[in-house]
Amino acid sequence: MQLHEWLDKEDTSRSNSGRIAGYPFGFMDEGAKKEIRRCILKAVAIPGYQVPYGSREMPIARGWGTGGLQITLSLVKPDDVFKVIDQGCDGSVNAVNIKKFVATVADVAITTDTRAATLIQTRHRIPEERMTEQQILVLQVPYPEALREVEPSETETRRMHAEADYSRMWLYLYEDIVKYGEITISYRYPVTVNGRYITDPSPIPRWDVPKLHMADTLFLFGAGREKRIYAIPPHTSVEPLEFEDHKFRTENFSGKACARCGATDTFLDEVIESDGGGRSYFCSDSGFCDKRSPAWNH
């Protein structure tokens, strides 16, 4: 049964505002929201530091965006305009489900337009359009610990963060360069936030990493399964790890353009056509692509 079918059936139980009766605004109880907001404040005060919190049960499974969802629900207000992106796309199953859920429990307006939104929850992408200081971007995080690749023990990675003992992370990059001639990390590229903590920017492509640096927007990161919240506040330096003679670089799409809107300045997805196996490229950010190709709008 679809959510809206169930809601229609249970129509009698809905309050006047359109929300489900028996649940507080925003689904979570006020105590939970308060705890999460406090953790967010701490995270903002110590940019890049992972704040542990008590991750709640959500009506979706852990690992499907519950960390992001809990941040969203603890921040959302009735006058917010909400947008959800899943790997750049507004229309994927996960994005649509989260959107419907939040609209149901918090009674907010939904949009696909980055500019119009006040609160955006995202997985694996940062929108192409530069966001403003009036907006908040909530990122879903599967693995909050950037050092996990080099150190399996949580006790040890916490000690490494405390002592700023990052030589092993750098050694990992050194070995990569010695073996392959360049750093082979394609997404989850480790960054230094505010000159202190090495932080996992969530699985965004390299393309999006520079957008975190000195941004106008507050970025909040929620890992529901791993029970961590961290933040990159506005106007904070975010430097990808790089060497003086091996600089960080983003993906290169030169010579390629979006087959839909013709964009040459966006992050492109490669699509292999089922008939003939030809390759074409489309904007990963579907909301932005829609805006620029009115012919496709309906």
Binding site: R159, A162, E163, A164, D165, S167, R168, W170, L171, Y174, E175, I177, V178, E242, F243, E244, D245, H246
Partner: protein, 290 residues
């Protein structure tokens, strides 16, 4: 000349401890285990000075507290008691806050935070363990092992780090073309030399050598010892050489301390100790060696 580091009353106790630990352990009692509370006094009231460009030997049988001493000074273990102070000239610019009111000696280094201790260690201290597995990452390339210390000291230029690694490997007689091989491919003697190269990479002032030649065959031992002697004069290192082998101590060190059951029983010039041992235990040690 003023000592580079002053060590005073350094102790390490494993266990609760009781009021009778001091009187019940030590060389006279021939044990470091307190019979009353079961604590082990691994290292008890050790005091000495280490001077610039000096090699100080520490000899003693297994369990006498030699390696414990090194681990305390390398900040790997927390000392139970004692003070370690370093002279201002050791690391100009490193942690200026520990020299209170312009004094010549720092505050007790053992009281510093883990973060500060790490900074000191990265900047000033090198260590070579008996077992290369402790000092090296066996799966990471030899060049990478050396680079790790450089990265810890803030180096961020791959080509410069590789240049430095190559230079050090050459000094320690490892073929530079094997730089990108992991140490697990190397023989024991080569691993030990990679470890020495790693320890020297950040130009330390102080080098701890913990039984470096134990387990190597005689010809390799001789080459490693030669290497250490040359490096000491080249880099003006202060070394603390821990060994149970009086031959090694005789070859490397001007001064020597003899440890037994956690305490220092005798110290002085190496020649003097070897030729005219005063303490009964030292006499036994020298007699059994020669």
């Amino acid at each position: 000349m003023e000592p580079l580091i002053r060590i005073r009353g350094l102790s390490k106790r494993f266990g609760q401890g009781c009021s009778r630990c001091q009187e019940s352990t030590g060389p006279e009692q021939d044990t470091n285990l307190c019979p009353h509370c079961g604590s082990v006094m691994a290292c008890n009231d050790v005091s000495f000075d280490l001077f610039r460009n000096e090699a100080l030997g520490v000899v003693g049988e297994s369990g006498s507290g030699k390696s414990t001493l090194v681990r305390l000074l390398h900040f790997e273990w927390e000392a139970s008691e004692g003070a370690v102070e370093m002279h201002r000239s050791v690391g100009p610019g490193i942690l200026p806050e520990i020299f209170v009111n312009g004094s010549d000696y720092s505050t007790n280094l053992l009281d510093l935070s883990h973060f500060q201790k790490r900074q000191l260690r990265n900047a000033l201290i090198g260590i070579v363990y008996q077992n290369p597995h402790l000092g090296l990452r066996m799966q990471v390339s030899s060049g990478g092992n050396i680079a790790e210390r450089l990265l810890g000291a803030g180096w961020r230029h791959i080509a410069k780090m590789r240049e430095r690694s190559a230079e050090l490997l050459e000094k320690t007689e490892i073929p530079v073309e094997r730089m990108d091989e992991p140490p697990c491919n190397f023989s024991g003697g080569m691993q030990q030399r990679v470890q020495i190269a790693k320890a020297l990479s950040n130009n330390p002032l102080i080098l701890f050598l913990d039984e470096v030649t134990t387990g190597l065959d005689l010809s390799v031992q001789a080459r490693v010892l030669d290497l250490i002697r040359n490096l000491r004069s080249e880099f003006k290192l202060s070394m603390l050489v821990v060994s149970h082998d009086l031959g090694v101590i005789n070859l490397l060190c001007q001064r020597t301390m003899v440890m037994k059951s956690g305490r220092v029983v005798e110290s002085g010039l190496t020649d003097q100790i070897l030729q005219d041992p005063r303490h009964r235990y030292t006499q036994l040690l020298v007699a059994s060696q020669l």
